[in-house]
Amino acid sequence: MTAVTAHAGEKMQQKDMTRPLLEGKDISVTFGRGAEAFDAVRAASVTVHGGEAVGIVGESGSGKTTLARALVGLQRPSAGEVWLEGQPLFSAGTEQRMPRSERWKTQMIFQDPYSSLNPRMRVWQAVAEAVQVWQNLSGAEARMEALRLLNAMGISDDQARQFPKSLSGGQRQRVSVARALAPDPKVLIADEPTSSIDQSAQAQLLNLLRRLQSERGLAIIFISHDLGLVRYLTSRVYVMQKGDIVEAGKTQDVLERPQHSYTQLLIDSIPGR
């Protein structure tokens, strides 16, 4: 236990000296206009380094999903900047758009396993498409590569030939991971990936994510309302409440010595505490 944390700490220090892989600076997202306008995210800054797993915790309506969508370019922020590998990807000031060629570096897994796969594409096709777009392979090669990725996620060739509707929630989420890995990304954002799958499937998925982080050096931003998951998977955490980041720091510190009353409330609400 101590060895592991010491090792993680060492890694952290190393990373702190280099610049962050993905960085969101003072990101604000406002929905609506005029009297009906409301800030989903207010001046939130997050960073993630290569090989690091960072958590964003908060309840529904805290803005955590909106923040994640801003980081991958699905949501245009009303203010702030997104930097990737020291290069500005998006800046609200200049209305600069994220170039398509940069998109592959940040990938995302979504919350709902039932709508995150195209119902009219076979499982292997969904992955092979991503492979083909980014790796310049022939159709047959892309298919092989897709099956390899799927197998690594515990999806058999037989299951890969199916349409998504005959897969369980947990299997679909693993297919989503395989698809997200196809362009060989540097950052993976997981938005509550386990909230609607069974507990045994959840453990399989978490193991997968953890290995991707530790073995492939993938940076992971893990979004959840469950502090237990965040504690297990991440080394740093941001706590969000109603659009604001109210607390940030090393996961262990935040959980052991919360500074903000909202963090304390979240900790107290974990079942079994």
């Binding site: 592991v4 309840e59 045994s200 453990a203 953890r210 237990g228 609400s269």
Partner: protein, 337 residues
């Protein structure tokens, strides 16, 4: 007299070897539950834990007599409640049981309230179903119920419709409706699944308090063992339509006697060590219609051997302080290494 005596030792609810199938008539029956066992005393709280497809919701429906609405029916087994046999009971009997004797909080707080009616209308229905109340009295009673479930500004909420309420508020209203007729048993089917963690905590403690105040027994269904450990005295674990382990919460958490129960515990992240793999159960849960022969859990079980594959689903047998449906219950220590 004799009956009186019997009642004292008889549990409030006893489900024995319950089998439930989809479809009517002979030919095409699809079993969803084939060996559910559950026993609970007055004022006791029992949890039912299981993953999706394990049959826990169907078991609840059997306990409130709404299986036919879902195209299912009891094939065999008994459901004794308060000295009365409910399996196969006619609708007339159920009318005296539902709401009055057994209260029910449905799974999703979003769809539990009729969107076109006010909260008041629905609560008043609940109240007037048991006794004769004047309109005024019933309204007062409804406001009282909302206070009981700790809803502030009760008058405002009474006039609201479901889309005007937050998820937590809706679930409180559902609880109010469930306790309106003073039931002996409250069944809550995943009452907090769609809610935020902080709200979940509030709802669970509300249910616990009400149970004590009103002397109710409680059946709490959840996919989360931690939730059940917090609220319940006993727990029953279901896998693929069968009860696989049952007993006191403490016994099941300290020394589970079924590999599935153990797997549910060790695959949890709460006490896992960061940086180490979780002990995940391999494979996928057996789904309705494709249960394996023999013990349902064998394809995912480390203890499985020829005997597990060959026989039928084992029955619950006493072992240590609990009941287990594993023929290798005594070998469970092996898994702890």
């Amino acid at each position: 007299m004799c009956q009186q005596k019997e009642r004292e030792i008889e549990p409030l609810l006893e489900v024995k070897d319950l089998c439930i199938s989809f479809g009517k008539g002979g030919g095409r029956k699809l079993p969803v539950i084939d060996a559910a066992n559950l026993s609970l005393d007055q004022r006791q709280a029992v949890g039912i834990v299981g993953e999706s497809g394990s049959g826990k919701t169907m078991l609840c429906r059997a306990l409130i007599g709404t299986l036919p609405r879902h195209g299912a029916g009891i094939v065999s087994g008994t459901v004794r409640f308060d000295g009365q046999e409910l399996a196969g009971a006619p609708e007339r009997v159920w009318r005296g049981i539902r709401g009055r004797e057994i209260g029910y909080i449905p799974q999703s707080s979003l769809a539990g309230l009729n969107p076109v009616l006010t909260v008041e209308t629905q609560l008043v229905e609940s109240i007037t179903a048991v006794g004769s109340f004047s309109r005024q009295e019933a309204r007062q009673e409804a406001a009282g119920l909302l206070e009981k479930v700790r809803i502030p500004r009760a008058q405002q909420v009474l006039k609201a419709r479901s889309h005007q309420l937050s998820g937590g508020m809706r679930q409180r209203v559902m609880i109010a409706a469930a306790i309106a007729q003073g039931p002996k048993l409250l069944i809550a089917d995943e009452p907090t699944t769609a809610l935020d963690v902080t709200i979940q905590r509030e709802i669970l403690s509300l249910i616990t308090q009400l149970r004590q105040e009103l002397n109710m027994a409680l059946i709490l269904v959840s996919h989360d063992l931690a939730v059940i450990e917090e609220v319940c005295d006993d727990v029953m674990v279901m896998y693929a339509g069968a009860s696989v382990e049952a007993g006191p919460v403490a016994a099941l958490s300290k020394a589970p006697r079924h590999p599935y129960t153990r797997a549910l515990r060790v695959s949890r992240v709460d006490r896992a060590v960061p940086g180490q793999d979780l002990e995940a159960i391999p494979g996928d849960a057996a789904s309705v219609g494709s249960w394996p022969a023999g013990c349902r859990f064998w394809p995912r079980c480390a203890l499985a051997d020829e005997a597990c594959r060959r026989d039928t689903q084992p029955a619950l047998m006493p072992t240590a302080q609990q009941l287990s449906a594993c023929i290798h219950a005594e070998r469970m220590a092996e898994l702890e290494q």
